[in-house]
């Protein structure tokens, strides 16, 4: 198992980049709070079984930025079922991150990502320490932008196996911001995949989401 103690080995270069990157043309303070709705499809696969569950999770997220430092949190909760009429199983997705946005178009983030989801062998709870990189670009001025965010787990633990194989994901979408009204909306697509080696199981969470909130970048 990869120990949490190894986090500094991965985190140090990231922190160095964050600290050393100059401040971009940003307002001193950015913040946002909002609601997120996510249509999920959870695919779990073992050498023997492949199951797919569909469901919906709902929750909230918040973020605050002071100059180039960022702090964020997200909590989503819902359920998924394998087929109509089957009992639903609980899905929880929570994350906390600290990060830096040295420029308008680039962010680095790191923090724990907690998940509770139904696996083949039971309910799995994972804690992934992830590093993320996020790129943003303007489509129509500052109002309409697109982004891609990719992440990878550096270490973590899982309740069922106590060993984590890997964790990675990607998210992309578009952001609409109405600065005068301080309204933010976001919609996109996301894939989050993790695996445990023993017993071998790969779970893939695929989601379409929409988020609405208030704040400014």
């Amino acid at each position: 198992m990869r120990s949490l103690r190894r986090l500094p080995a991965y985190g140090a270069p990231l922190v160095a980049v964050v600290v050393a990157t100059p401040v971009g043309a940003q307002t001193p303070l950015g913040w946002s709070v909002g609601l997120v709705g996510m249509s999920v499809r959870l695919e779990r696969e073992t050498p023997e079984v492949r199951q797919a569950l569909d469901g919906f999770v709902f929750g909230g997220e918040g973020r605050i930025r002071l100059w180039k430092s960022e702090l964020g949190v997200r909590y989503l909760r819902g359920s998924a079922t394998q087929a109509a009429g089957d009992p639903s199983e609980q899905v929880v997705d929570a994350a906390f991150f600290v990060g830096s946005r040295p420029t308008d178009w680039l962010s680095f983030r790191a923090g724990p990502h907690l998940r509770r989801y139904p696996s083949v062998t039971g309910t799995a709870r994972t804690v992934l320490w992830e590093g993320r990189i996020r790129l943003e670009g303007r489509l129509l001025g500052q109002t309409f932008r697109s982004y891609v965010e990719a992440w990878r787990a550096f270490s973590g633990s899982a309740t069922l196996t106590s060993v984590l194989g890997s964790g990675q994901g990607i998210e992309g979408g578009m952001v609409l911001e109405i600065p005068r009204a301080h309204v933010l909306a976001r919609a996109g697509y996301r894939v989050d995949r993790s695996s445990v080696p023993n017993p071998s199981e790969v779970s893939t969470l695929e989601a379409l989401f929409i988020a609405v909130g208030i704040g400014r970048r």
Binding site: R138, L139, S146, A150, G169, G173, M174, V191
Partner: protein, 648 residues
């Protein structure tokens, strides 16, 4: 104390005037000490002294002067020292109390002067301009030590000039600003403290000062080029101008000498002599530079002085004879003094004195009618002259008073130079009558055409009239341009005051010529064109459109392609293609919306608004400049009054 001086000696002491002075001081030879120390301080090598050394030697010099009994000279030395080193205190162990007391007195005097100036500035700030001018003028007059020098003196003079402007004392304001123009030609009035009319008046005065200075210089140059006619004309014009007051008596005397010399070379000896006579009045101790001017001019000046002295001596002897009751001799002497050839050697006050004593002598020797005639002549010449009750017996003063009441004469006084904007300022014309009578005061063209009647009526004692530069129809007599719009110079005018007898007959007129010099007001500069940085781009650059396209295409491709690579083996939905496609389409839309080169109407409107605002400001300034151009600044110079008897 003297004995406390360190022993001095050796060869060096024999060479160094300071050491020799100190040695002489120690030997109580104060005359020698003063001589050596003054020589040392006057030498060029004195510039090498440190402040402490200079202070030490000057203190010894002051002390030596005290011991010689010349306290005034000691005070002068102390002033010179303390202007340079205001905090200097002589060592009380080295110098006796009578020396330190001199420095204390000077310090108190300087503090008092500084206090006067501070109070003057405060009064100015409190808008009490009468007190400000009085305090600041007193400060300057009391500045025996010369502590107000350079910028500090300019500041004091500037405040006096501004206060006089506020008080409406145009003549005094012009005089103060003229002094400032000489003292600090580049002086700039703080726009927050001083009103625009002060700045404008100073600009006009400065221009005139420069003009007078240039005229005088060109006159001297013409003299050097042996063009004596031009030299005379230029120098007389410079001296006649009010701006000539800017130069001190020495400089005026020098210019008068050039005039006299030029007149001499033109063969006009009488004119040269008359000029030198003025010079003797102006600077009695003036010495002609014999390296510059020919000996004939020096000889002429000596003649003028001799004649002036002789004329003054005649008056003096007549006065003495009158005092000795030798009235016959007094009349004889005074009539000699008043003969035209001699009278022109006398100054106005000497002339009035001679007439008063002649009238008194005639009266006292029984020729009452003759005495009355003399007093009438005196009243015509000096309408305000009053025979001294203390100096003459009642029968004389009675005759003099009676004679004066029979004479209808007016003394007309105008400021020698007044500056104002035509239509906004006024020229004061002061009338003083010898006795109540009807007068008419008018402004006429130089050729006699009427311009404006200022006053018609009884003048009992005195009256101040004001002329605002308008004619009888209310139009400005000169607005800078002729009817065709061509810029013209103002013409000459005159103030004429006509005195009438009780029967209404014109008995005499006083003419005062007026010279007008016009100066256009300073115009405002156009505002700078808006800086390029203020303008927004009017066409889209390549950046935003390309950024949208790249962002859309790369972002869309990443969402469409990377998930399958990241989640190999999983059966992903096609939703990623929809999202990726949407992002790509948004990128293309962004490119179209911000296609490079496309006009930005909002920015174009914003830029046009900036230009329009600038054009509006330019138009406002052009209008203001046109207004200023149509209201030129005028300086009026009043000449010497000329009395013309009528009906004789």
């Amino acid at each position: 104390m003297v004995g406390a001086l360190a022993p001095l000696g050796g060869a060096r002491a024999q060479e160094d005037p300071f050491q020799r002075g100190l040695q002489a001081y120690a030997d109580l030879d104060f005359d020698a000490a003063v001589r050596y120390l003054r020589d040392g301080l006057a030498a060029e090598s004195a510039d090498l002294l440190t402040p402490a050394e200079r202070a030490r030697f000057m203190t010894y010099l002051a002390a030596a002067e005290v011991f010689r009994g010349n306290r005034d000279l000691a005070v002068a030395v102390a002033r010179r020292l303390m202007v340079r080193q205001p905090d200097y205190r002589p060592d009380e162990l080295t110098f006796p109390p009578q020396v330190t007391e001199v420095f204390t007195a000077v310090r108190l005097e300087m503090d008092a002067v500084q206090d006067l100036a501070s109070r003057g500035f405060r009064a100015f700030a409190d808008l009490d301009f009468a007190a400000a001018t009085q305090l600041l003028r007193t400060a300057l007059a009391s500045d025996s030590a010369g502590q107000f020098v350079g910028a500090e003196r300019a500041r004091v003079v500037a405040h006096i000039g501004a206060a006089e402007v506020y008080r409406g004392s145009g003549d005094s304001a012009v005089a103060a600003l003229r002094q400032l123009a000489v003292l600090a030609p580049d002086y700039r009035f703080d726009a927050l403290t001083f009103p625009p009319q002060v700045t404008e008046l100073f600009a006009a005065v400065r221009r005139q000062t420069v003009a007078v200075d240039q005229m005088a210089r060109r006159g001297v140059e013409a003299y050097g080029e042996l063009d004596f006619e031009v030299a005379t004309w230029l120098l007389r014009r410079a001296l006649a101008s009010g701006g000539a007051e800017q130069v001190g008596p020495q400089e005026r005397a020098r210019l008068l000498t050039y005039v006299a010399a030029a007149e001499f070379y033109r063969g006009r000896q009488d004119s040269a002599l008359a000029t030198l006579r003025r010079l003797t009045f102006l600077a009695p101790d003036y010495r002609i530079d014999e390296l510059v001017f020919p000996p004939d001019v020096t000889a002429l000046l000596a003649t003028a002085r001799r004649q002036a002295d002789a004329a003054a001596d005649l008056v003096r002897r007549g006065r003495v004879a009158s005092g000795n009751r030798d009235y016959g001799n007094a009349v004889s002497l005074l009539r000699q003094a008043l003969s035209p050839a001699v009278a022109e050697q006398l100054q106005p006050e000497q002339l009035a004195e001679a007439l008063a004593y002649l009238g008194a002598a005639e009266t006292l020797r029984g020729a009452r009618n003759s005495g009355a005639a003399v007093f009438r002549a005196l009243a015509i010449r000096e309408p305000r002259y009053r025979v001294d009750d203390q100096a003459f017996p009642p029968q004389v003063t009675q005759v003099a008073r009676s004679a004066r009441t029979q004479v209808f004469a007016v003394r007309v006084a105008l400021p020698r130079a007044a500056a104002f904007r035509l239509g906004q300022g006024e020229l004061p014309v002061s009338l003083q009558a010898s006795a109540p009578h009807e007068v008419t005061a008018e402004v006429l063209h130089r050729d006699g055409r009427p311009v404006r009647t200022l006053y018609v009526g009884m003048l009992a004692d005195s009256l101040v009239l004001r002329w605002d530069g308008r004619d009888s129809s209310g139009f400005l007599v000169w607005d800078g341009r002729d009817p065709t719009g061509v810029v013209t110079a103002p013409t000459g005018y005159q103030v004429v005051v006509t005195s009438r007898s009780v029967a209404g007959q014109v008995v005499r007129r006083v003419h005062v010529p007026l010279e007008l010099d016009a100066y256009p007001q300073d115009t405002l500069p156009h505002p700078a064109t808006p800086h390029d940085s203020l303008y927004l781009p009017t066409r889209l650059e390549r950046g935003p459109g390309l950024e949208a396209l790249v962002t859309g295409v790369i972002g869309g491709a990443a969402i469409a392609l990377l998930p399958s690579a990241m989640a190999q083996g999983s059966e992903l939905s096609t939703a990623r293609f929809a999202v990726g496609g949407a992002i790509s389409v948004a990128g293309i839309v962004g490119l179209v919306a911000r296609f490079p080169g496309r006009s930005l109407r909002g920015n174009i409107r914003s830029n046009e608004a900036i230009r329009e605002e600038w054009r509006t400001r330019v138009a406002a300034i052009e209008q203001e400049n046109a207004t200023r151009a149509s209201e030129p600044y005028v300086m009026i110079h009043a000449g010497e009054p000329v009395v013309r008897e009528v009906g004789r």
